[in-house]
Amino acid sequence: MVAIRVDGLTRTFGETTAVDDLSFTVADGELFGLLGPNGAGKSTLINVLVTLLRPTAGTATVDGHDVRADTAAVRNSIGVVFQEPALDEELTGAENLAFHARLYGMGRERRDARIGEVLELVGLEDERDRAVGTYSGGMKRRLEIGRGLLHDPAVLFLDEPTVGLDAQTRRDTWEYIRRLNREGVSIVLTTHYIEEAEQLCDRVAIVDDGEIAAIDTPTALTDSLGGDVVRLELGGRADSLGDRLETRTWVREYATAGNVLEVTVERGDARVADLVRLADDAGASIATVDVRRPTLETVFLSLTGATIEDGRRRASDEASALEPPNGRDGAARSVRASGEDR
């Protein structure tokens, strides 16, 4: 059974193509992520899938229902948590949930039972009768996630579920999302946080400029780059080590520049000892050793020629995309950039 099937989906706004001929499927029970910078078209895609926007071309089904022809059935089988909060702050948490339950035609008994269950699940039982305006950002987000689940949807959509949350609340929110997924809810989330996609998702689609650049498990995506990079800074020139590396089968690739040696291997952490021994045998002293494992950020960079940060900037400034950072320089920069992000 397929939770979502998207085929040739396109959505334009005037001259701008926000979603460009996308095709993919999401399996039942999967936790699926759409990773990309702001302005890549993720929210537009979500809004088409939840029937708030009509597709310009192509088809999409959610839980087997066509988003164009059968909006009522789609709406009945989905829960949505929007990027911007969508709560009535003057009502209490329980009242917001009761409002939602009535819109979804839930009778009194089921409504009362589910409101209790959901509040417990998101840990807001004690705050149920407080006005939502007095909630913290994390509590509001939890209430919204709970509300998205209230009517037992088959698919839950989360648009940037942890934007604006502090680190602890973000990790808690991830935990809720994982728990829901374990209980059998198919989940589609969008994010521009690398860590979120890596930690949370079964499969990730890398979205850039309205298109999907790659789609796979986080591990497969990072493995596709060929492995880890071990960087050695030596006391002297690195060239002399080159000949010795040629004969080692576990070395996939290497490069030297001055007294710096960079070696690409499958398991960087397991080869550090070998490389140090090699340098020792050659009589070279080692100043620093650094193992860099590729992240989805590196994958994004290699696929699109820009970091997610750059992509975000490009949304407002097309010119910056004209100078894509290249090679390892870019990778190093991207690691720093995502480090700042956290």
């Binding site: 929210s43 809004n47 939840v50 029937t51 708030l52 926007l53 909006t71 009522a72 709406r75 009945n76 989905i78 949505v80 929007f82 911007e84 909060p85 969508a86 709560l87 009535d88 702050e89 003057e90 009502l91 009242e95 009761a98 409002f99 939602h100 009535r102 819109l103 979804y104 035609g105």
Partner: protein
């Protein structure tokens, strides 16, 4: 997705009523302006010779139905336009993504907006009694409620239609200045329509509030410019029309 979903309409109504009751300052604010008009115009023009005023009717008797109509105009139009503030805070998406028809959403808005506007109007009516207002007969009140409900439906529908033309509440002030105030001044709420120049009178006759105020005057005071059946008929037509147009335009509003 039923065209008319009673549970959803009830949910929308309940939300409006709860919000209304929880913000006493909002209630005070909404009746303050018509009340000020009532007090100062009523006192200021007390005993003045207003041209066109029916024989033997005090100005305060003439003015109260006008101010009640004014309160309805504002309360109901704002209720209809609250779609815009819901959009501002993101709550509109929660409503639009639910499996309910747009017609049900408009009907829910009308139910909630009419209720809150009706409460405001009845408060004005109650507060006008110490100012010397006398209701014509015991039957007046239920008949007045019929007119009030029709005025409410007309202008909530009108507010929904207006709100569908804007993307955020920026346009709100514009509407108040250039649409709602002219409707108020053209309604015969503070002076008889007959004292306006001919061409302006024509405009007043296209204004649903003219018939609302006239009908309220007929049932509350016992004097009116038009036959009560005409007032009632005109309001039924205007209510049907604005709700139909409001629903039509709201159907076409994109959620994001």
């Amino acid at each position: 997705m039923n065209l008319v979903d009673p549970t959803a309409i009830y949910a929308l109504w309940l939300r409006d009523v709860k919000r209304f009751l929880r913000a006493p300052s909002r209630i005070a604010g909404s009746i303050a302006m018509p009340l000020l008009f009532l007090v100062f115009l009523g006192l200021g023009f007390d005993g003045a010779a207003i041209p066109g005023l029916p024989e033997g009717v005090d100005y305060i008797q003439f003015l109260v139905p006008g101010m009640v109509g004014f309160a309805m105009l504002f309360g109901a139009s704002f209720a209809g336009m609250s779609i815009l503030s819901d959009r501002d805070v993101g709550f509109l998406k929660e409503i639009l993504v639910a499996p309910i028809s747009r017609t049900s959403i408009v009907l829910g808005r009308i139910a909630g907006g009419s209720t809150t506007a009706l409460v405001q109007a009845l408060l004005i009516l109650l507060l006008s009694i110490p100012l010397g207002f006398r209701i014509a007969s015991p039957l007046s009140l239920p008949l007045a409620v019929v007119f009030l409900v029709l005025i409410a439906i007309t202008f909530v529908g009108f507010g929904v239609a207006l709100a569908s033309q804007f993307n955020d509440s920026e346009g709100f002030g514009l509407v108040v200045q250039f649409v709602i105030f002219p409707l108020f001044f053209l309604s015969g709420a503070i002076y008889p329509v007959s004292s306006l120049p001919e061409p302006v009178q024509l405009a007043a006759m296209l204004n649903p509030l003219t018939y609302g105020v006239d009908g309220l005057r007929a049932v509350l005071v016992g004097t009116s410019a038009y036959p009560i059946a005409l007032d009632l008929g005109a309001l039924v037509v205007s209510a049907t029309l604005t709700v139909a147009v409001g629903t039509y335009l709201f159907e076409r509003v994109e959620a994001v």
